[in-house]
Structure formats: structure tokens, C-alpha cells
Amino acid sequence: MEAIQGDKLRGHLEAMILSTLERGEAHGLEILHRLEEAGCGLLQLKEGSLYPALYRLEAAGAIKAVWESQPHGRRGARRRIYRLTPKGQRQVEAGRVEWQQFVRVVGGILGAPA
């Protein structure tokens, strides 16, 4: 199966990030690992682009971040640990409903109902 990357992910990345955080708080790299794992290796995301999405979600109040207390073995740089807020939780649920509607409508048009 062909990998999903770039433009195809646009518009869905934020909802997917929020969804991964339902499993518990995580730093950026861990979020990526969760996305890869859930996407069965078919999601090909340029990793740097995760962070602007995280910053947007943080500014929107959907997630909160705290710096980890110690830079474990990473030469002085600390990671930020993200967790879902109640607003983010509501956003995930709304995102699922929107996605189901999208799949139903587009699937119907393409003759491939979900």
C-alpha cells in the first residue's frame, strides 16, 4: 500500500496528534512514534512539521506542555511533555464525528461506502 504523506495529511494532523495524546502525555518524538505505530508505518510525516502543529494546538488551549525537569542524555536540550486538556478532548471527539461524516459523504460519491 502507498504511503500517506505531505498534503494528504494536511487538515488531519492536529486531530491525529490529539488522538495520540488520549493514550497519555508524551513528548514530540513519542507522539511521532505513536502516530507511526497507529498508521502501521504508512504515515510519512516530516518530523519537524509536528512541532508547529503542537504550538498551534497549545495556543488554542487544546493541549498543555511542561518542560521535563532534566535533559536525560540529550546534551542539555529538554523536551516538552504534552497532555490533552478538556478542550482538546472535546476537539478529538468533534474531529471523529467530522471524519465519519467526511468518509460517508466522499465514500458515497466514490462508490466506496465505509
Binding site: G48, Y51, A53, R75, R80
Partner: protein, 246 residues
Amino acid sequence: MNESTLTQLKIIVERAVRPVRASTSRKRKMREELLAHVVGVFEEEAKVGDEQAALASTQERFGQAAELTVHLQASVPPSDGFERSAENFFGGSGESVLRLAARFAAAGGAIVSVPLGIMILICVLRGQGSEWLTIARVPSLLAPLWSAFIAFSGTLLIHGMWPALFGPAGRSWLRAGLVAVAAWLLVPVSSFALCLVLMADIQKSLWEVVPLLPYGVVAPVALVVVTYLVKSEFRDDREWARLDIT
């Protein structure tokens, strides 16, 4: 991981972050978090290949710097503009220390002038404006000038203390001591000059400022504390700024 590899990883990050128009604090946050990310990725990649291959894979996984810059820029909220403006005012644009000190002096003078002007206006409106023409009010009228002088000197002292304690040439206790003494004497000496102008009497002026000397100790202590608080950020900023990202 050796220093050279760490520098290469920093360059990957800096290529994306440096062009972003955002406040220094926001860019610091981006740099630190993205560096932690690329170091983590590099460590993963280095387990399955040599260092050069791991670096190339890290770069590949991270993505194109120009594209990431655009995304990072889009994530900067409009409210960051206020912080950026404030940073530019406080010398974020790499201007000379004298110019910065002059700007702080102007700001210090202006800040004191506003309430003073309001007080004078209120007195004038109440018909008590003539009070401000007496010799007793001269120190108050000179307050903006005095504040400007303190702001100017304080800026120079802070920029003198930082290299004395954390400069590239190493710590110089002699220089730090001289700056501390200058900070200690700044308020008493400037007050003495003011008193001398007003009273034209050296002895009386001295007696006016002698009680200030013990309190003056607070100035060098505050100077050292501020310098310590900002030292790691200044040092990190300089390190990132020195990276050649071309």
C-alpha cells in the same frame, strides 16, 4: 555523540528557526525542543548505522528547513509581536552598548517625566503652580535627568559585569570588583553631585549622601544576581547566533 555532531544537529535546527520572525524567548523554546528532538532521532539512527549516515537520516526525517520555517512562522501568534517589540526596545537587535544605554536613558527620563508633568499640571490647575518655581522643588524637577543618568550608567554596568563574570576571556575578579564598586557608588556619587549643584556646599552635600552608602551595597548585589539569572540564556543565544547555517 561528540561536539562536532552536536553542532551539526544544532545547524539542522537553526536553519529552520533563525529566519522565523518571533520573540527571542519563543525562538529559544523552539530551538531547545527541536534540538532535543533531533538528538533523540540521531540516537535512534546511530543504533543502526554510522554517525554520518545517522546525521543524513536525521536531516531527512526532520524535513526541509525552508518549509519548516514557514510552518513555524505560521504558529507564532500575533500577541508575540508585543514581546518582539519590547525585546527590540531592550536591545535585541545587536546595537552598540552606548546606543542601548542612551535609549534606556531616554526611556528612564520619559517615565519619570510623565508623573512629574501630571503633578505639575494638577498643581497649576489648582492655582498652586508657583510652588514649582521655588528652590525646594528643583530636586523634583531634576528627577527625570537623574533617572536618565542612572538608567544610562546602570546599562553600562550590566554590560560591564557580564563579560567580567562570564566573558570568553574567562572570569576577571578585578574587573568584576571594579564594576561592583562603581555600581555601589553610582547613586551616592550622583546624589552628591546633585546636592552640590543645589547647595553649593561640599560638606553639607557629603552629609546628605553618607547615609546612602550602606544602602548602595544593594546595587552591586542586584547587578550580580541579574547577571547570573541571564547568563545561561545569553550564552546559549550567542552560541546559536555563531552557528554558520549557510
